[in-house]
């Protein structure tokens, strides 16, 4: 039977995988990419938003029919992705928009309420306000139902009611069997229009958010600590510059009234798109839109999102007690789905470090050849895995400003600086001495051509992509991407990669212990040779001479730190404070 919740195998530090993290048998949701092994216990803190309780992510559905009324079902595998949805602005009140995917015969119905409001709306000194507000609305009860009654109403239906907050958008989502749609809708409406603002629930959820930062992120989830620290480093001085979940001392200073006022300011009709998909009745979209017309009509426009330039320092070293070191590397840029370079960049990224697959150079050379760690990947836009499926990125995280990142999963301290150098070395070679070959490009094209088909397998994910497309001002991103990448040449791949990736602009985070000595080495540039793992008898694996020669080059590859101020050491207690 399907376990009660995503915890499934918290009992499963267990199911460890060849390439992927724990996957519980037939379990539902959990943040496979980033969640600690006993995921569900960190309910408050999946990924950075901290508002996606396990088991409640929208992620189901099945085949969607084509958009035009006269078209039959779209055979997805062969010809791909469904045509664009109907967007119906204009006829609706208060500037609100409606996006309907063609209804299917599936048993599940999805409603997503997407606001152009997110962490960038957090006022100065109130980091986390949007996230906490959304969570109190979703979990804290409605005027008709206390939090307890809300749970009791949803539970027998196995209905999922969830919210995801990102930098520029907040998505309230409901996923329910169509048998139960009638029971869920009034609750969803009340969550938005008549939240309970219960002081006890406010205290509970604020405590949970603070604990999530102080106890999980700082102390119990080093992989995400590295990623989130990098994000704050890359976006210093930028509207993205504070953890979406919030900063601990600022969360502690919030009052219930802050939340109420904030909700009226950011969850307004003019910022809302209502999305529906799955086996829904014809009037659903309009009915929900009509109800949402009861929201405050207008608000200030969202904060501007300026382009973020490089600013340094090169290194941020987060000092903490740990048995290994988390490493994240990145640079901000503004590559978007609309960009003509997107398909070429996606091919380069896949060949360099496909998420959770074996084909990328980073994975092959750091993990497979050297056994440095569990995985090594690269990303050309902000990425969080959705559930346990490596092929699914979370939707609802579209952004105007993007970043290129490299994620090295934790490395033993003795090899941490070798690992950083290996990543910089491989990136440098991919731009100069060892451009992506015709074979690598063709392989990655073949891969993405099939793999992209897995991205929007369910009605809920199709809806997520459609809403993200609307945000980005494009249509049918997946289909366009898939057809575009077929014609990309190795020259285009390499020139796009060189155009967008400048290794001198990378910023690098290490989180672990004894950072003073790391700083010393970073500044002195002394060699940091790899130490291969020994067995009980002291033997290390035999390695090919060519690899050992490369090791010699990597161990002295320049770190790129320009002096004392280019390497900052911060105690973990100061992060997200």
């Amino acid at each position: 039977m399907r376990p009660l919740n995503a915890f499934a195998l918290a009992l499963a530090v267990a199911a460890a995988c060849a390439q992927q993290q724990v996957r519980p048998p037939a379990a539902g949701q959990a943040d496979g990419g980033t969640r600690p092994a006993a995921g569900a216990v960190d309910t408050g803190g999946s990924g950075d938003a901290g508002v996606s309780p396990p088991g409640t992510e929208p992620h189901k559905g099945a085949l969607v029919a084509a958009g035009a009324a006269d078209a039959g079902p779209s055979p997805r595998g062969g010809t791909g992705i469904a045509p664009p949805p109907r967007v119906m602005p204009g006829t609706l009140p208060a500037g609100l928009q409606l996006l309907e995917l063609p209804a299917t015969q599936n048993a599940i119905v999805n409603v997503q309420l997407r606001f152009r409001s997110g962490a960038i709306d957090d006022p100065r000194g109130k980091a986390g306000l949007t996230s906490l507000t959304a969570r109190v609305m979703t979990e804290g009860g409605t005027q008709a139902l206390s939090a307890k009654q809300l749970l009791e109403a949803l539970f027998p239906l196995a209905a999922e009611l969830d919210v995801r907050v990102d930098k520029e958008m907040t998505t309230f989502s409901a996923r329910v069997h169509k048998d139960n749609l009638g029971k869920l809708l009034p609750i969803l409406t009340d969550v938005l229009l008549h939240p309970r603002w219960d002081p006890a629930e406010f205290r509970r959820l604020r405590d949970a958010a603070v604990n999530d930062i102080e106890k999980r992120l700082r102390q119990g989830d080093d992989e995400n600590l590295g990623k989130e620290s990098l994000s704050e480093l890359m976006y210093r001085g930028h509207p993205y510059g504070r953890l979406t979940l919030g900063h601990a001392s600022e969360l502690k200073s919030l009052g219930l009234q802050d939340l109420q006022q904030h909700a009226a300011r950011v969850f307004t009709a003019d910022r809302l798109t209502v999305g529906v998909s799955g086996g829904y009745p014809p009037s659903l979209g309009k009915d929900v839109a009509q109800a949402m017309a009861g929201l405050p009509a207008k608000s200030q426009p969202p904060a501007a999102v300026p382009e973020q330039g490089p600013h340094g320092p090169r290194f941020l070293l987060v000092e903490k007690l740990a048995d290994s070191t988390a490493i994240s590397i990145g640079l901000p840029y503004d590559l978007s789905h609309k960009d003509a370079d997107w398909p070429a960049m996606s091919v380069a990224r896949s060949a360099f470090g496909e998420h959770r697959q074996f084909n990328g150079r980073l994975m092959q050379r750091l993990r497979e050849a050297r056994g440095l760690n569990y995985g090594d990947y690269a990303y050309i836009e902000h990425f969080q895995q959705d559930g346990f499926d490596a092929a699914t990125a979370q939707t609802g995280r579209a952004r105007q400003q993007q970043d290129f990142t490299i994620w090295l999963r934790p490395v033993r301290d003795e090899n941490r600086l070798f690992a950083v150098r290996a990543a910089l070395y491989e990136l440098s070679r991919s731009l100069k001495e060892e451009l992506f070959s015709k074979e690598e490009v063709e392989q990655s094209q073949g891969f993405l051509d099939g793999y992209i088909l897995l991205f929007d397998q369910t009605d809920a994910r199709k809806l997520g992509y459609a809403l993200d497309d609307q945000f980005g001002g494009i249509s049918s991103f997946l289909a366009t991407w898939r057809s575009g990448l077929r014609f990309v040449t190795p020259d285009q791949v390499n020139s796009a990669w060189r155009k967008w990736i400048d290794p001198s602009k990378l910023e690098i985070v290490l989180a672990g212990k004894d950072m003073a000595s790391v700083k010393k080495t970073l500044l002195s540039g002394e060699p940091t040779p790899i130490r291969y793992q020994r067995d009980a008898t002291g033997k290390t694996p035999e390695k090919p001479p060519a690899q050992l020669a490369t090791d010699k080059e990597i161990e002295k590859f320049p770190f790129g730190a320009q002096g004392d101020s280019d390497v900052q050491v911060v105690p973990v207690e100061k992060m997200f404070e």
């Binding site: 376990p3 009992l11 060849a18 997805r76 934790p410």
Partner: protein
């Protein structure tokens, strides 16, 4: 119940209509090859896509020899190291070029290998999968290098206190059975993995045999042609399962307690468990699944009082799941303040006592049953989900129809069955309690 599509919409391939009265509504056809390999075809309407799962009924429960914890999982990694005919590079390059999502996972009871992607890849999948299950070949250097990746897998979660707590719980609750160690294994055993080369070959000989395997194919494929290909590719796979007996866990006769002292600031935790039955006891498994939510789910009095009301507990998670051998039923709670650990424990025990005393809320039992049914339906959302669900449920007893039978048992559960379960399992002498607190000097 799930109806993936109107049959009329896909008249061309006209799959049999799913049977909405079943927990697993999609038609399943099982074939057995002379060498013992079973093949299950799942009709799931998923044009252009196919999921291919191989279930090996071997997991950490089979790690009987001392010092070999984590080996089943390590072996899962080695299965990606290639054969004489198709090297690891060839395998990776091929599945990559075909656009397949490829992976594997290991649990206590099973190791599962899976690929999901374009349907036209199926003939190649069959060829490559059959080859590696029949002819796996790796040398000692590759074996030693892979051990490094396992170590990396262990340390990536090492900052999570629950990894340690999990180790402590199972080694305290189980004294003889191999559920007493985790799937990833003990750190010292992982560090020693590079010297297990010879043992790995023996492991392959014992467990990677056709009669210990089931293949699941779901989605868009031609059954007759696929069966013919599988028969051809796997027909020559030989060997018989040569399992080392797994020790039985003796009956627990005294309550047990252990503590993990954590060296960093974290919230205290308490985990309480009781030994229960194996998945083969369908009624017991159905009741245990119901009680997971009945006792510790979001609508339970415990959850509502400790999390929503008094707010002394930060999270509460029911930790039973179905297993091949008798497993633990219980609850793991994160408590906001160590001074409340004892009170929280008392609250759980009081609730258990009430249940054993016959206080059963029949209405809530119905709500839980409804939740389990709808959750199951909502999870079968794509061909890949259907295949993995059938594979992991088959692993429990070997019965491909296990999920349906368990839900049938679930439908029969009466309020008094909950009471009976409580009376026969939730005794103090059958209980293990593990707490985790930050050691003095570790907090700040």
């Amino acid at each position: 119940m799930l109806l993936p599509l109107f049959a009329a919409l896909v008249a061309a391939s006209a799959p049999a209509v799913p049977d909405a009265t079943k927990a697993f509504p999609f038609p399943v056809e099982v074939h057995a090859l002379p060498n013992g390999l079973r093949v299950a075809f799942i009709q799931y309407d998923s044009p252009g896509l196919v999921a291919y799962y191989t279930l090996m009924r071997v997991g950490s429960r089979n790690e009987v020899e001392k010092g070999r914890s984590g080996f089943a999982h390590f072996f899962e990694h080695m299965m990606f190291r290639g054969t004489k005919q198709h090297s690891a590079e060839d395998y990776n390059g091929t599945v990559t070029r075909l656009g397949l999502s490829t992976n594997a996972f290991t649990s206590e009871d099973m190791t599962v290998y899976h690929l999901y992607g374009p349907a036209q890849a199926l003939p190649t999948i069959i060829e490559y999968e059959a080859d590696r299950f029949r002819n796996l070949f790796y040398d000692e250097p590759a074996f030693r290098t892979e051990a490094g990746a396992i170590l990396g897998e262990y340390i990536k979660s090492a900052s999570n206190p629950e990894q340690k707590m999990f180790e402590k719980m199972v080694e305290t609750a189980f004294t003889r059975h191999t559920y007493g160690h985790t799937v990833i294994g003990y750190l010292k055993d992982i560090e020693n993995m590079p010297s297990g080369f010879e043992y790995s070959r023996e492991f392959f000989r014992r467990y990677y045999t056709p009669d210990n395997a089931t293949i699941f194919v779901a989605g868009d494929f031609d059954k007759a042609a696929t069966l013919a290909q599988i028969e051809k590719a796997y027909g020559g796979w030989s060997g018989r399962l040569d399992a080392v007996p797994v020790p039985r866990e003796p009956k627990q006769r005294q309550s047990r307690r252990a503590q993990v002292d954590w060296d960093k600031p974290t919230l205290p935790r308490i985990w309480i468990t009781w030994h229960t039955a194996a998945a083969s006891d369908l009624k017991s498994a159905a009741v245990a699944n119901l009680l997971n939510a009945y006792l510790f789910g979001p609508t339970s009095p415990l959850y509502q009082s400790l999390i929503l009301g008094r707010q002394t507990v930060d999270s509460m998670v029911a930790t039973y799941n179905d297993r091949r051998d008798p497993n633990l039923f219980g609850v793991l709670m994160r408590v906001k303040d160590a001074k409340n650990l004892r009170t929280v424990e008392t609250s759980v025990l009081r609730e258990i006592k009430n249940l054993a005393g016959g206080r059963v809320d029949a209405k809530r039992l119905e709500a839980v049953r409804s939740n389990l049914r709808y959750s199951n339906t909502m999870a079968l959302d794509k061909a890949d989900s259907a295949a993995v669900t059938l594979a992991v449920n088959t692993a429990l007893t070997g019965d491909v129809d296990y999920l349906n039978r368990e839900f049938a048992a679930l439908a029969q559960v009466q309020p008094r069955d909950l009471q009976e379960f409580a009376k026969s399992h939730f005794m103090d002498l059958n209980r293990t309690t593990v707490t985790l607190v930050t050691a003095k000097g570790g907090g700040r």
